[in-house]
């Protein structure tokens, strides 16, 4: 009997504490790849979420309630993403989920958020996440297709039609290579060489020699992230290849210029605007937000800003604004308000969501073209 009583008392305490907790905080879930192969995405994302949640709470929270961020690290594994999604929904009872960081993980959890009717804002790149539109799934990250289109448009402007690809074999490089091959014909651009390298390779001279000896090539594009593109850039300069070199948004950080050194001079990089927030034209609608985020991130964490943390900033504030407008923490109502987001000025750009568009990022402002001159970015008009 005694045992039974203690059990009941414990259960009661547990339940009541649960009620008190859930009454005083708004639980937002986050699934990020803070470690592992995609930690370059997840690490700044998690830092940003923690920093800004604290900031919102210090300023009094949302509708008088504090935000409680419940986050899990997947190490970029879709399996773990599924486990953590279930935990966020069933145990933690969150009202909305931010993440995951990568496309594979996002695709894996879609059916669970759909079943639980919890709004999700993914921070991954693939178009398939929001095309076709799914009622509970949003994302505000520019797709790699946008990056490809930006590059192709720039090539067309310069009258370069014969493109050579040298892509990293990681997920990022593979996906962008596919997208670029798909959009190239629309701009009248021919892919005349298609090389790849392992993402941990230490020398890409062979692939580049092959491209150099190909008489058709006019310009080279290198989709990839990490050290690969820096090595490609160095080898490119060593071999004295004369064609213009384009890099993807995967290397759009000062780190790339630092590692590739002088070889990066004259290289063009397609990039999200936050990287050069201070150099943006004042007419750019989201300049203020992007610049404020860049400065705050760099000051707080003492490291270069990347666009990835910006995704977390945008996702968090879109949800917070939706909760404010809804005046409720009912996931269904939050979802409805997220969908009504109009003119949201985020780090990634201006976002206008609608029942038929769950990306809502303006393609024109989502990506810009940069050129490296004197070891710094300049915006290509």
């Amino acid at each position: 009997m005694v045992k039974n009583f203690t059990l009941r008392a414990l259960a009661l305490m547990f339940i009541s504490s649960f009620i008190i907790l859930s009454a005083s905080t708004i639980k937002i879930g986050a699934i990020v790849a803070a470690t592992g192969p995609a930690s370059f995405l997840g690490d700044p994302e998690l830092k940003t979420l923690q920093h800004y949640v604290k900031k919102i709470n210090d300023a009094g929270g949302v509708n008088g309630q504090m935000i409680e961020l419940i986050h899990y690290d997947t190490g970029a594994s879709p399996k773990k993403a599924v486990t953590f999604t279930k935990r966020l929904i069933n145990q933690d009872k969150v009202v909305a989920i931010i993440g995951p960081s990568t496309s594979g993980e996002t695709m894996a959890i879609l059916k669970f958020v759909k079943k639980a009717k919890i709004p999700l804002i993914s921070m991954a790149g693939a178009v398939a996440i929001i095309d076709p539109v799914k009622p509970y799934v949003f994302k505000i990250v520019a797709t790699d297709r946008m990056a490809c289109e930006k590059v192709m448009a720039d090539l067309k402007k310069r009258n370069l039609t014969n493109l050579a690809l040298i892509s990293g074999s990681g997920g990022f490089g593979k996906s962008m290579r596919k997208q670029c091959k798909a959009v190239a014909p629309k701009f009248g651009i021919k892919i005349v060489a298609d090389e790849t390298y392992g993402k941990k390779d230490s020398d890409m001279t062979s692939q580049l020699l092959k491209i150099k000896n190909n008489k058709d090539v006019q310009v080279v594009l290198n989709p990839g992230f990490g050290q690969g593109p820096a090595i490609v850039t160095k080898n490119y300069a060593q071999l004295k290849i004369k064609h213009p070199l384009y890099q993807s948004h995967g290397v759009a950080s000062k780190k790339y210029i630092e590692i590739a050194g002088k070889s990066s001079e004259g290289v063009r990089v397609v990039a999200p605007p936050v990287v050069v927030a201070d150099k943006l034209d004042d007419s750019v609608a989201n300049k203020k937000v992007a610049l404020a985020y860049k400065n705050e991130y760099e000051k707080t964490f003492n490291s270069q800003v990347s666009s990835f943390g910006g995704h977390a900033y945008d996702s968090l504030y879109i949800i917070v604004n939706a909760i404010k407008r809804a005046g409720s923490t009912n996931p269904m109502k939050i979802r409805d308000e997220i969908e009504k987001t109009q003119g949201f000025e985020g780090v990634d750009g201006v976002v206008n969501l609608s029942p038929t568009d769950h990306l809502g990022l303006d393609t024109k402002t989502g990506m810009i073209m940069l050129e490296i001159r004197n070891g710094d970015w300049t915006i290509v008009k």
């Binding site: 090389e195 001279t205 062979s206 692939q207 820096a230 090595i231």
Partner: protein
């Protein structure tokens, strides 16, 4: 023809990088019969500590020496762990080295960070031009240093008493003990030497490939392949294996497709294991049953 020369040169560069990593496997295998899967992480530790010592404002030379000392300490730590579990089977010890590798990777993430880092090439950024292709100064330095290490290792194992004691220890521990060889000291020295070679590799590689906490994974794997292809146990095997691997990769990337580059490397590894289980240079130790 010029094309072929370019591919070969690139293959040789990469090959010597693999050799540098592969040598570490050889040294530890030579004395203990263990394959040390944290070899790649030793390379990472050497490169990362150098970079961060330079960030801390130390001069280049001092950073190198300190980084090499730090890495050899890590090597000795691994030996201490292994000697704790000396009675375990060899396979458990090999798994222990795998675990140690994961531990080092995690530690590097905490102590350093997850970013990529590089340091300026200490022989200048330029490159020699040969015909229509190029080889960077740093790559030439790697070839010179790797060759020097190989020759000195060979001399060490063949000509010095300590070196011979190491070989003896690997052939028959009990007999070596009876001959008055201090097995513990010999093994510890071996792990230290292997870590020193790895850290030199890490330092030389960083200006070319840059470094981060997980740079050791692939390097370790390729170095392991090089050591196996060439035949574990002889320093020249690591050179042969590294060159075969590097040149093959480069030729496949050049003439076939860069998509199949890594696949071919592993096919060659399998073929060697099937048809020449001792590797190119190795002679399988006959075992009495």
């Amino acid at each position: 023809m010029i094309e072929l020369f370019g591919y070969l040169l690139s293959g040789v560069t990469v090959g010597f990088i693999y050799t540098l990593v592969g040598l570490g496997f050889t040294v530890i295998y030579n004395s203990s019969g263990i394959i040390n899967f944290s070899q790649g992480e030793f390379v990472m530790a050497g490169g990362m500590s150098t970079v961060f010592l330079i960030y801390a404002g130390l001069p280049l030379g001092v950073s190198f020496v300190l980084a090499i000392m730090i890495t050899s300490m890590i090597g000795i730590l691994l030996y201490k762990l292994i000697s704790f579990s000396r009675d375990s089977s060899q396979i458990s010890l090999i798994i222990l080295t795998l675990g140690f590798a994961i531990f080092l990777r995690g530690l590097a993430q905490i102590i350093f960070d997850k970013q990529l880092h590089t340091m300026p090439s200490f022989v200048g950024e330029g490159a020699f031009e040969i015909f229509e292709t190029t080889i960077s100064y740093q790559a030439v330095l790697i070839i010179i240093v790797a060759s020097t290490i190989v020759v000195s290792l060979y001399l060490f194992f063949q000509k010095t008493k300590t070196g011979q004691a190491m070989v003896a220890a690997s052939n028959n521990v009990d007999a070596a003990k009876l001959m008055g060889i201090n097995i513990k000291k010999i093994l510890m020295l071996n792990f230290a030497i292997s870590a020193v070679i790895a850290s030199i590799g890490g330092i030389l590689l960083t200006p070319i490939t840059s470094t981060n906490y997980e740079v050791g994974i692939m390097l370790g794997l390729k170095g392991f392949c090089a050591a196996i292809i060439g035949g574990l146990g002889t320093p020249f095997g690591a050179v042969a294996g590294g060159l075969v691997l590097g040149i093959l990769e480069s030729l496949v990337a050049g003439y076939v497709s860069s998509e199949y580059k890594d696949a071919v490397a592993f096919v060659v590894l399998l073929a060697i294991l099937f048809f020449m289980p001792g590797g190119i240079f190795g002679n399988l130790k006959s075992q009495r049953v």
